[in-house]
């Protein structure tokens, strides 16, 4: 997923040091600081859970690709090979991007073949993938 945590935190830094014109120093600057604060809070969550979420997702996609190879072609078995040994977010994301491309291709083939079982299995996986990457904001009162 983009943008990455280093990019977001770099952005926060740049926001804080960049001089703004006088007309942007009041309400606008206060709003900007608020958004930077939210980004910092969410980046802390990503640092805490992001590696685990990516390891899990990569492993889950590999499992679906591997077991579908019999019906959908050896290329999916090939794609499912390997494991994550470098636990940096950037390396995990690169592996994830390749795996997601194969998952998209497999899902499309399953739909074209009216393979409801695999289609629904992949949809269920999507729900878990989205949940695993969830970021939580604390309740912030609006008034």
């Amino acid at each position: 997923m983009t943008p990455t945590v280093p990019e977001l935190l770099m952005g926060n830094f740049l926001c804080m040091i960049e001089p703004l014109p006088p007309e942007a120093m009041g309400e606008f600057m206060a709003g900007r600081v608020g958004v930077c604060a939210m980004i910092s809070l969410l980046a802390a969550q990503e640092a805490e859970r992001g590696i685990e979420a990516r390891l899990w997702e990569n492993s889950a996609i590999r499992a679906v690709l591997s077991k579908s190879a019999i019906d959908y072609g050896e290329r999916f078995r090939e794609a499912s090979k390997g494991h994550d040994s470098d636990f940096s977010l950037g390396t995990l994301d690169r592996a994830n991007a390749a795996l997601r491309r194969h998952l998209i291709a497999l899902h499309e083939m399953a739909e074209n073949k009216a393979d409801t079982k695999l289609h629904q299995e992949i949809i269920a996986l999507y729900v878990k993938m989205a949940e695993a990457r969830r970021l939580d904001l604390p309740p912030m009162p609006g008034s």
Binding site: A24, L42, D93, R100, M129, P139, G142
Partner: protein
Amino acid sequence: MSLAEQLETYLTRLWGAPARVEGLSRIPGGASRETYRFDAQVNGETKGLILRRDPAGSLIDTDRRLEFLAYRSFHGRGVPVPEPVALEEQGAELERPFFIMGRIDGGKAASPFTVVPYGEHAQALGEQFFSILGAIHAADAAGLPITEVAEAPAPDACWSRELDYWEGVIDADEQHPQPIVRAAIRRLRREPPAPAQAIRVVHGDYRSGNFLHDEKGQITAILDWEMAHLGDPLEDLGWAIDPLWAHFEPGRVGGMMDRAEAISLWERSSGLKADPQALAWWELFNAVKGMGIWISAAREFRDGGFKDPVLGISGWYTARRHDQIIAGRLAALEGLA
């Protein structure tokens, strides 16, 4: 020359009389235009105004002429919108395209990241919010200023035009493969909705947060018409009730009211029907459109050197919220939820 001085030069030329700008202040929120409030003094009169200027990088690529004409289409026609004052597509003295409109003071807009933003006035605001949307959709588009630039699609082409556009945005700006939104796009194409029952002005971003209220239960302005177009009015309804805008209250659309009541109010005000199947299509579509906006934001964040945190959080946190919403909808459509 400062922005205030540039504005003074422009307004002096526009009005043919010396103009003075006071209290120029940029307003937060909204990454598609830079927005400023200011007072202009001319001929002994003080005018409260808003400047909307194109930024260098933007959340969404939109046509400021179209937005300006949308305000002209509804100002003074029963929909609370600010008065459009001037449009400069070449930028004139301000160097970048902009337009100026009247300012409606005393109003507050809700951030989508907050909870219970409307307090005890939620129901009253919800009733107005969905009735105003219905009023926009009740208007016959023929003859409205927006038709100078907005093309009317055929009723059976509304869905494909919008889906083609947003899929194109995702194709162009995606930086990491997005299997969930891709599955949603394929599903939308496999099962298109019924043709639009009427071609109407679609606000394009009608949601909680894009209106001002007086904190006493009254909506004072409908804002942010930059994605306005002609199309199927169900598109707006689907966006307005998207869970992303519910302020973390699953039971209240827009954080304001019960879904069925909201739809009923819209139907009464618009004179149109919300066919459940067609509305379900537009709801899923709107989540895809949301992802298109967030994916674009991520691209702009990178291309702009990571400097706009609104683009950053939109391309990250908000994108993940919509991924969850889409996955949940797909699962529900399969009977898995």
